[in-house]
Symmetry: C2
Amino acid sequence: MGNNELKQTMLSKAQIAKSASRKLVSMSSEQKNNILLSMVDALQQNIKEILFYNEIDIQAAKDAGIGSAFIDRITLNEKRFYNMIKSIKDVIFLQDPIGTIAEEIIPSVNIDIKKIRVSLGVIAMIYEARPNVTVDAAVLCLKAGNAVILKGGYEAINSNKILAKTICVAGIKAGMPLGAIQFIDTMDRNVICELLHLDDFIDLVIPRGSEELIKFIKNHSTIPVLFHGKGLCHTYIDKDADVNMAINIALNAKCQSPSVCNAMETLLIHKDLAEKVLPSLCKLYNDAGVEIIGCEISKKIVNSIKSATEKDWRTEYLDLKISIKIVDSLEEAIEHINKYGSMHSDAIVTNDKKNANKFIAEVDSSAVFVNASTRLHDGNVFGLGCEIGISTQKLHARGAMGIKELTTTKYVVKGNGTIRI
Amino acid sequence: MGNNELKQTMLSKAQIAKSASRKLVSMSSEQKNNILLSMVDALQQNIKEILFYNEIDIQAAKDAGIGSAFIDRITLNEKRFYNMIKSIKDVIFLQDPIGTIAEEIIPSVNIDIKKIRVSLGVIAMIYEARPNVTVDAAVLCLKAGNAVILKGGYEAINSNKILAKTICVAGIKAGMPLGAIQFIDTMDRNVICELLHLDDFIDLVIPRGSEELIKFIKNHSTIPVLFHGKGLCHTYIDKDADVNMAINIALNAKCQSPSVCNAMETLLIHKDLAEKVLPSLCKLYNDAGVEIIGCEISKKIVNSIKSATEKDWRTEYLDLKISIKIVDSLEEAIEHINKYGSMHSDAIVTNDKKNANKFIAEVDSSAVFVNASTRLHDGNVFGLGCEIGISTQKLHARGAMGIKELTTTKYVVKGNGTIRI
């Protein structure tokens, strides 16, 4: 496709999406849930075809010599398929946020004001790898009354196309406005650039994927961006921590699911407690297959620890690997976290309330934990229902995001011929 | 200054601001209010000097042959000076949002979670003309616990410099962290470009000024932008409107303060009511000195109306000028507003509840008014206290914004050795 043709195609998709979003605002929760139910049926009926196309993507990745961790991410087996179905059902059961009161307003003049929750309009979702995002994102956006433009990665293109086609056809049959869900199958990267400038029609861009993808989108978008950035999470074991609790939390935060964003990457230990914690903890880490690197002081306490470099403090391993630093004070721990962290999830283990409060106030992260594992940072654990992601930015949404974060608000003002005096 | 030197200077300012913001988070409301009080005193003591420097800006503008409307905007007379002082006092009386509960969270596991309101960090405020913005923005940011980097326009550079110097010196004497308020007096436009890429240190950019300035910033910033865009506001007089009420509202919305963003620019009238409304209303508009242009049908009803072009429906006059269109239906009115409006403030005058509800649901604006004037869209009228502006975007803040919109949230999670299972 030429650049001009591409521009026109994207513009026209965005315009159709905007027009569909105008229709979605008047749909009841029941109508939206019926559409979602029809998608569940259609996906279940098409399971064989969907897994067949997924197999094509897997084979292509294997032929290209791509690593097994990545192939695992694009794989859609039966178990994952039914998890995807379950997550649509969860969305059906979610309370519809549209029309609820967002905030109580007490005006200074005699008018009736309500700040109500309304849909955002059109959302562009740009993602990589996992094909279930196609379905997850589409149904969450739809439930919140938004039209969505999906742009998945090339790695799962065949899976994404069949999934999108299945839910679109079923949705439209069940009354979904035409263009409410659109999938872009052009692999040209210019497509993303074109999309990112259509701020007259697209209200929000959500990138989900590598740091590089997110950076590209932040740098090119004139549309507001809501991103789920990296999770370089810390646990700090304070001077007055309960040693057993500290070891338990440090073990859980690193090992329970090392490849996810809320897993711990760096452990900070107060110097007065290092000798009590480190030897037993390192033994447990060794048993769990964790590679341990650390500062010079930590190496003196446990000889098998390898040297950490400056780069390690900045690295999100997403793996069974940890960097450990012995610090002189709470202040040093806080400074380290604010300097190297990604403002995602950071924990302190302490019995000192004053220190806990200082940590809470001064650590600039979306979630701070006291005597608890960073792994708890999750939309479901926090009771938000389905999670879109964990925002590591500060505007609009911060930390675990639910369906509410796919909405905005509107002031509705009723008067009786009221004018400004 | 060379480009590299410029980059270094901006980076260093942003780093100092970030460091100041870390100190601000631990300050009590009383400490912050004391700093603001010291600024009130210092400004009052320096009034002569401030008005003297303002006179220099005014003279320079006159010498450059700049129009009187613009000169009025940069003028800081005694009355305006004391309004500025009053607005600092208003901020002192505002409830401190920091540390308040932003939202009730009911977790699905046995942990204690609070979503509390915290400061954003560092805000860059980029504005034009009015020198009082220097003070207004600085004190609101400070009260919300944020450091602020101010970049005012060249037109009021001398006024801005003396205002910023006065409040900074007084603030620091009263315990404000060094660098919590910084003013950039370099006039090089590259300064803005450098600032807009410092997303590691600056959390939010607020542009305030021309459409062109806002567009420039949206296009260049990798930092989230919160903007107060243009106000192309409509009033729609429905078939079942009370004629007197409609005329009253249409007169108020246009004439009470025509140069502000919530003033009406386009009036839409249902065809069945046009002959009843238009002649009397146009007479009142003529008496008020309003220039009237309109569609072909409106011209047949009132001969003195001049022809509107397509461009008029897209123009924010900010003046005693109005464009009028006769429409066939509520649907046509809604479509016109969504097509040409700026999603700011739009009103319907009607006694038909069903039509009112359709208008509320389908008009995609930050505030919709039923039987009330768009001029009511204002932070003070809405009871928010001091207003930062009216957001015409949908993320983070929409419509009238108060101090709360200069904050974000943080999850504070307390466990008892709680881990993820």
